[in-house]
């Protein structure tokens, strides 16, 4: 922003702040801002305009106190529209008040353009900061999801369990297959129990992936038992006409473990006291 215009804005800053705070109060009723208490809202708004004016004084936009302030807002979960609307109001208020007070600038189109450019630059920067933080969150959540995707847990010698929870998409199906085969070799499992209690929908694709996985497990010399089939899932599998006749299934993990022990010629007995 040109030095003269900046000075002009700063000269009338008290009036601008006043008008701005008034405007900011009007969108306090927004759905996303309703839950914030009045005093916090007031103090945050004040801090926002302070940082904005400091940035204006220094005439650098990147890497300032404003950025740190926005970082804080992101962490506290303030909505982005508080920032964008706040800046829009700042532009309106400063244009209006400088125009009212100064004859010299009000007639010049450069004056409006200058303020707009400056505000746009700040908006772009802060929106980038926000969306960067969202992308980061989404990425981390994806990683977290992947970590709990498909663990193979050895429960007894030669027996492992893979509990599946949640939606199975193509990427997860691939991971299930990999973990299953690697785990079977690593733990020298003879029997693998795949537990689908936590899978909400078993459609043909999910069934297909499970069938393929168990076929692959068979190739490396182990047996798959499908457990945790809920009654409604059993009915939809029959309706869909999916043939699961090739590999053993059990209703619960408990029964699956018993069968697996029997297959490896063991059983659980109660000891005498």
């Amino acid at each position: 922003m040109k030095v003269t215009i900046r000075e002009e804005v700063l000269q009338y800053q008290d009036q601008i702040i006043e008008a701005w705070l008034e405007q900011v109060q009007t969108f306090r009723q927004d759905e996303s801002l309703k839950n914030i208490s009045a005093s916090v809202y007031e103090s945050t708004s004040r801090e926002f305009i302070d940082k904005l004016l400091i940035t204006l004084q220094q005439d650098v936009v990147a890497d300032t106190e404003l950025n740190q302030f926005v970082e804080k807002l992101i962490q506290m979960g303030w909505p982005l529209n508080f920032i964008t609307r706040g800046l829009q109001e700042f532009r309106k208020a400063s244009v209006k008040i400088v125009a009212e007070n100064s004859d010299e600038f009000s007639s010049k189109i450069e004056f409006f353009q200058d303020i707009e450019n400056w505000v746009d630059e700040v908006v772009n920067l802060l929106v980038d900061q926000y969306s960067g933080s969202w992308e980061n969150t989404v990425f981390l959540q994806k990683m977290a999801l992947k970590e709990l995707s498909a663990p193979l847990i050895p429960v007894f010698d030669k027996i492992s369990v893979m509990p599946l929870v949640g939606t199975i998409d193509t990427e997860r199906a691939k991971l299930i297959m990999e973990n299953l085969l690697e785990g079977v070799i690593e733990h020298r499992s003879q029997v693998v129990l795949i537990d689908i209690t936590g899978v909400p929908v078993v459609d043909t694709m999910v069934a297909h992936h499970i069938i393929q996985a168990s076929e692959a497990v068979r190739l490396v010399g182990a047996t798959c038992i499908l457990v945790g089939i809920r009654p409604e899932i059993a009915q939809t599998i029959v309706n869909l006409g999916i043939d699961l006749g090739k590999f053993p299934t059990k209703s619960t993990l408990k029964k699956g473990v018993e069968t697996a022990l029997a297959m490896t010629k063991r059983e659980i007995i109660e000891t005498e006291a």
Partner: protein, 133 residues
């Protein structure tokens, strides 16, 4: 007033969104847990077909009422390549993607009414209805 929901399918997440919307409406209409699972599975199959063969399309679910019964209608529409031979896709085990080939005949068995309208190179519309018993 009929309840309507649209879900755009353009990624695998769309499939999840469609069936969640379906399960919610099925529960609101009053379907039991088995029928909820049937409806959700049917939506999942139809949405996956859209994603797999047409890349993008739309699932519309709505509450329907006849003179003496209520139910739920699923309309899956896309502007994909269309189905070359409708009779063959309704055969169990027929597949062009290496899957199980149980999807469409399965959906027909999961639901009470089923209708395919497909034209080569211009798209497919599949309508399926489940009545509340």
């Amino acid at each position: 007033m009929q309840v309507q929901t649209h879900v755009d399918i353009n990624s695998e997440w769309g499939i999840v969104a469609a069936r969640q919307a379906g399960r919610k409406l099925a529960r609101e209409i009053g379907f039991g847990s088995v029928d909820q699972a049937r409806i959700t599975t049917a939506i999942s199959e139809l949405a996956r077909n859209i994603y797999l063969y047409a890349n993008q399309g739309q699932i519309k679910i709505e509450e329907v009422a006849d003179s003496n019964k209520r139910g739920m209608k699923i309309i899956a529409s896309d502007e994909g390549p269309g189905i070359r031979d409708v009779r063959r896709v309704m055969e169990d085990g027929f597949t062009t993607s290496g899957g199980l080939g149980a999807g469409l005949p399965g959906v027909k068995r999961l639901m009470d009414e089923f209708d395919i309208d497909s034209e080569l190179d211009s798209g497919t519309v599949i309508t399926a209805v489940k009545w509340l018993r």
